[in-house]
């Protein structure tokens, strides 16, 4: 479904990504792991048009999307969350989630200003869908709160609701459980499993190995911008190169 072919990203001559190649299979959960600074977030940015690769190609459903603007990528059915929360703090929780459906309310400013009956009707349906999405994450009772006052764990889940409400074909999650306690992590893990059961394709960046080993079908390991291993969770866990990358980092930080 998604194919990365030699994707590179140089920052002032230093490679944050160095010829990364792998596929994300439809209906599967692909986990992307690697030590801090390995280039995981950069890779997600390069796929979603937030950043542009300096080399290589990104193909989504047989279509070359390399360097495509972020809103175009989004409209092709790729949704994402951000490692550092990017909610709209002044909007209500419900409005934040509704932003995930921005395309379905029509894009014409003139129509919006006239507020024709069909648009009002559609607006009501969208609200229902957004509330359902919030309900799935147990946040329906906070729908009218301004997003800024939510607790950190709730904010993370609102971002997940916003990314999933439009039923994207491909979901890119940048550390969805970072900073959550174990109960919240379990709840999000449950949601991810449900999304996969619903046929969603997920690329999951995560440091929480328990979660990764639990739900990933395929694991990709990045180290200093290079893809050092691809395989099933078990294969990767036993791969000596991977162990060394992680151990090396531990020694360096120790």
């Amino acid at each position: 479904m998604l194919r990365l072919d030699g994707v590179s990203r140089l920052f002032g001559g230093l490679p944050a990504l160095d010829r990364v190649c792998f596929d994300v299979a439809r209906g599967r959960v692909t986990a992307l792991i690697g030590p801090n600074g390995a280039g995981k977030s950069t890779l997600i940015n390069c796929i979603t048009g937030v950043d542009t690769p300096t080399g290589g190609t990104v193909t989504f459903q047989e279509r070359d999307i390399t360097g495509l603007a972020a809103h175009r990528v989004s409209r092709l059915g790729i949704a994402r969350t951000f490692q550092n929360l990017r909610l709209f703090p002044r909007l209500s929780v419900l409005d934040n989630v509704l932003c995930g459906l921005s395309g379905e309310g029509g894009r014409s400013m003139v129509m919006a200003m006239l507020r024709l009956p069909y648009l009002r009707h559609r607006e009501r349906l969208l609200k229902l869908r957004a509330l359902e999405a919030l309900d799935r994450f147990g946040l329906a009772d906070k729908a009218s709160w301004p997003a800024s006052i939510l607790a950190y764990g709730d904010k993370k889940r609102v971002e997940l609701a916003r990314a999933t409400v439009g039923r994207p074909d491909l979901l890119l999650l940048d550390e969805p459980v970072a900073g959550l306690n174990s109960d919240e992590t379990a709840a999000v893990g449950e949601q991810l499993r449900r999304l996969r059961a619903g046929g969603h394709t997920i690329l999951l960046v995560e440091h929480d190995m328990e979660l990764v080993m639990d739900i990933a079908d395929q694991v990709v390991v990045l180290d200093s911008g290079r893809c050092i291993a691809v395989g099933s969770p078990d294969e990767v866990r036993r791969n000596p190169v991977v162990l060394e990358a992680y151990l090396g980092q531990m020694e360096a930080t120790a």
């Binding site: 048009g49 949704a79 002044r90 921005s102 400013m109 919006a112």
Partner: protein
């Protein structure tokens, strides 16, 4: 009334609160000339209506697209002089002239907006300021067409057949009718999916783009919309006073418009009305303000931005919303 029934009525009112406010305000405005028929006062409130139209558009641009313009008096001027020239020298009748001018100003905004809106912050402020400067200079220097510093007079009033909008009371209905229409259109826009996209854009451009909002295009669209509003207000201004001069369209007018937006509150449609009203009336209420208008306006701008960066109405509404939600959160926890 049973409690359930009362809840239902309250809920209905809450659901339709926007329509309710618009209806009440419209009714009050229709009755206003019956209570107050002093032409001087009506002249003032009419000016508020004109300013409101410009401020609504500018507020969408500043508050929703998250941009800045210090040049909206230029679009206001283009509307006013456009109507003056097409009706007096071109012999067009006022209504079609007004539409034609609005379309042309929209096109000008499009042509300017596409390159200029790549800029942000100070650069955008400087570019729009420069545009205002250019237009103002043209009005002063191109006197065969604009009448130069002494202005352009003899602009016909608007009307239908024999009925002319030529008294303050008639103008009251024309101008406030137009202002309420623009208010309603703006309210509709911000309550739509497109409006939410714009609010997102103002909050976090990257996040909005990742949710499918074409940020560059949206900025240009709102810029054009705000220019069209300013142009319409300018045309109304010209037909209302029958006379225009470059003095009304300098960079200080642009600054005043921004101050109205800020006092009203970023992105607050109702606040636009309040901002336009307060800043238009202030010099009338207190003489000192009339003499030192620019200082006072500058002072207000600095104070509001220091203490409520989102502007007066928006800032207060935000505070109240957060307070209420925090209290509910405490209740939920207890």
């Amino acid at each position: 009334m049973s409690p359930i029934r009362r809840d239902k009525v309250l809920y209905f009112l809450f659901l339709h609160r926007t329509g309710l406010f618009v209806g009440l305000l419209t009714a009050a405005l229709m009755l206003f000339p019956l209570i107050e028929d002093n032409p001087y006062t009506l002249g003032l409130t009419n000016l508020i209506a004109i300013n409101t139209i410009v401020v609504l558009g500018l507020n969408l641009f500043i508050g929703y697209a998250g941009q800045i313009s210090l040049g909206h008096a230029a679009f206001f001027a283009l509307g006013a002089y456009g109507s003056a020239v097409t009706t007096v020298a071109g012999g067009m009748s006022p209504w079609p002239a007004m539409l034609l001018v609005a379309v042309l100003v929209g096109l000008i905004a499009l042509v300017i907006g596409i390159p200029v809106l790549r800029l942000t912050g100070h650069y955008l402020a400087m570019a729009t300021l420069g545009f205002n400067f250019v237009i103002h200079t043209v009005l002063l220097e191109w006197d065969e067409v604009t009448g130069g510093p002494s202005g352009f007079s003899g602009i016909p009033p608007l009307g239908w057949g024999d009925f002319l909008f030529d008294s303050e009371v008639r103008l009251h209905y024309l101008l406030w009718g137009s202002a309420m229409l623009c208010l309603l259109l703006s309210l509709n826009l911000v309550r739509s999916g497109v409006g939410r996209g714009l609010a997102g854009l103002a909050g976090d451009e990257t996040a909005a783009a990742s949710l499918g909002v074409d940020t560059k295009r949206a900025k240009v669209k709102v810029f054009v919309l705000s220019a069209v509003f300013a142009s319409l207000a300018g045309s109304l201004f010209a037909h209302c006073y029958g006379f225009v001069s470059p003095d009304s369209f300098g960079i200080f007018t642009s600054a005043d418009l921004v101050i109205m937006v800020v006092v009203g509150g970023m992105g607050s449609i109702w606040g636009s009305l309040l901002g336009a009203g307060l800043i238009t009336l202030l010099p009338e209420w207190v003489d000192v303000f009339a003499t030192y208008k620019d200082f006072v306006h500058g002072g207000i701008l600095v104070l509001v931005l220091m203490f409520l960066p989102q502007g007066l109405v928006t800032g207060i509404v935000d505070l109240v919303r957060v307070k209420i939600a925090l209290r509910r959160r405490k209740h939920a926890a207890a």
